[in-house]
Amino acid sequence: MGNWVVNEGLSILVILVWLGINIFLFVYYYIVYLDERFYYTRVLVGDALSWARAPAACLNFNCMLILLPVCRNLLSFLRGSCQCCSRNITRQLDRNITFHKLVAYMIAFHTAIHIIAHLFNFERFMDAQLEQNETIAYVLSQIGNEDNSSYLNPIRTNETNPTFVAFTTIAGLSGVASTLALILIITSSMEVIRRSYFEVFWFTHHLFVIFFIGLVIHGVGEIVRGQTASSVLENKPNICATQYKDWGKVPDCPIPQFTGNPPMTWKWVIGPMVLYVFERLVRFWRSKQKVVITKVVTHPSKTLELQMKKKGFKMEVGQYVNLQCPSVSQLEWHPFTLTSAPEEDHFSVHIRIVGDWTQQLFEACGGEKKEFQEAWKLPKMAVDGPFGTASEDVFRYEVVMLVGAGIGVTPFASVLKSVWYRYFNNDTGLIPKKIYFYWLCRETNAFEWFADLLQSLETQMLERGNADFLSYRIYLTGWDEAQAAHFTVHHEEENDPITGLKQKTLYGRPNWENEFKTIAGNHPGARIGVFLCGPEVLAKSLSKQSINHSDADPRGVHFIFNKENF
């Protein structure tokens, strides 16, 4: 039976709370501007005032939130210090980018409402200023012509137009600048651009600096005006509004005085801005620490392995680092999963050559050359991280299912190596009692660098007589006729013709339904961690299977699905 609540419950709760706060802020600030103080403002612009101020409040809230999920080091710190917290809470921290995107969509949505409302505001203020007859709008617009501080209508002359006013006020200019920055950020963050042209996405995203500057100075002009508190006592709108022709002439109704709201946004965003600046400083400082490349290995299937050392570097299994190679590019940082185990004296990454940066790194590290490279010829590297991912949780489950697709197997390389070391050292703290490992791969070449690791593990376990500890399946999802002929001939042999392992390579995609059923049957009542590093489609499928095969009964078997992808 499905146990959707266990897997998704906390995330849904967080989203609902966030939506609830948005709705509350919207309604609350809508009502604030229905107050008496803004009676005369509303005479000029009507409901458009509330429709502009309510999303503004929501914008303050969301702009405060948007910087937080991208403070990687802060989140890593929270994750680390949260060892005592339940797995569920730390798992929410893995969904930081999803939350960042949701908040971004909300910002775009509220920006749209805010702008449309202000379009009406500008138009109506202009109409009021253009009044020829002595209507209340005309009288209100004339207030403040002598002194510049008590005006109501921010458009002060009738010889202008809304467009001109928009571009000559601080609020207008900063608004346009921020909105343009936001639009450019959003269009360059579309999946198509982000996945294929990462640099465009990354550099354009830094327009957020302009966005925040515009946001903070947006209210400095104080052009949203309402009656001062003292003026409301003297000139009560419900009584005096109809007597607008006699304001100042009648003792009951002096001319109303107006003032603007001081800017509030900075109070909301200053905290996260400081945190984010701090985050970038930490990243910069970490990147300045000396990193030495100790070994470079070129693997088939265009994969480069870099083994490095850095003083004080501590990692956990399955974490990732951001690498920068100044000789290739001063500005680009790219994330790579660590493929080494914490027990080793170095850390390593396996980099697949897919684009400009990876290709240039390959050449800089002497990948093209056959002969031995001197250590001093290797490029300087900078490393930021390591950052936490769900793989750290692997050791918290008694039974784990690890699924890696193609290059997605890399975090599990780290896990399995660590398992090997702990096994080797007879580590009694080794919690997992059974590991099911699935590797889905298209090309046979990709096996080589990983096959060695699996071979060592296989031998180790046979020696210890615990061949059942690690159960692994390798699925080859694409083959051609030449390969098929080769397999057919070698079918009888004890070791697999591709990997040299005792476990035979399987073909096609796994039947997940069967796999989950079998595993559930083997371990009733256990909490089974399912870890995937692979494409979205597979994630959906496994997530569904995890939910379907989990018992509704809390004492029954539970599959907890964890996904990571970059």
């Binding site: 379009l119 500008f122 639009i183 640099e199 400009d356 057919t488 079918h491």
Partner: protein, 184 residues
């Protein structure tokens, strides 16, 4: 930055700009603003730009992902031949289309966004990019295992039947009916 096809980003920007211009136009017309004629223009221009930019072009390298239902518009856009293929033309067209939006506040944002899209298209044109239509694939591959009605089109490699029979003792279950030479 060598591999970037700027046209991809220009396309996203132009589509967004079209929507913004359209929205601004609708506000201007619905609110009966002064100079609403420019808003009406904004609606028309916005719709036109959206229709023109909706079909994504084919990427030179990598897989091109279509937008939902873009096939019909692809045919229309393709029909204009060099006018839509050439990005200089598009850059110029967007530059011209953006100008009337600048005369009225609701459409100003649309105007600037379309102008930016025009600039990015200009960059794409300078780099020699072209709009190629994404043509529909002939048929999609049948996934193994999902249809049980037909024999697998690309069955996993197996040794000849005699060898397979020898491994019967490894089988998960024993077939109650003995296998003859003709059964597979």
């Amino acid at each position: 930055m060598g591999q970037i096809e700027w046209a991809m980003w220009a396309n996203e920007q132009a589509l967004a700009a079209g929507l913004i211009l359209l929205t601004g136009g609708v506000v201007g017309v619905a609110g009966q603003f002064k100079d609403w004629q420019f808003a009406a223009y904004g609606v028309a221009a916005g719709v036109f730009i959206c229709l023109l930019e909706y079909p994504r072009g084919k990427r030179k390298k990598g897989t091109s992902i279509e937008r939902t239902g873009q096939r019909y518009l692809t045919v229309c856009v393709k029909a204009f031949g060099p006018l839509t293929r050439n990005y200089y033309v598009r850059a110029g067209l967007h530059a011209v289309l953006s100008v009337p939006g600048g005369f009225m506040l609701p459409t100003v944002l649309g105007c600037v966004c379309v102008a930016i899209a025009s600039l990015i298209y200009l960059l794409a044109a300078i780099r020699g990019e072209q709009w190629e239509p994404i043509m529909p694939r002939v048929e999609s591959k049948e996934r193994p295992g999902q249809s049980m009605k037909e024999p697998p089109s690309n069955p996993p490699p197996r040794p000849p039947a005699e060898l397979r029979r020898k491994r019967q003792e490894d089988a998960a279950y024993v077939n109650p009916i003995p296998i003859s030479v003709n059964s597979v």
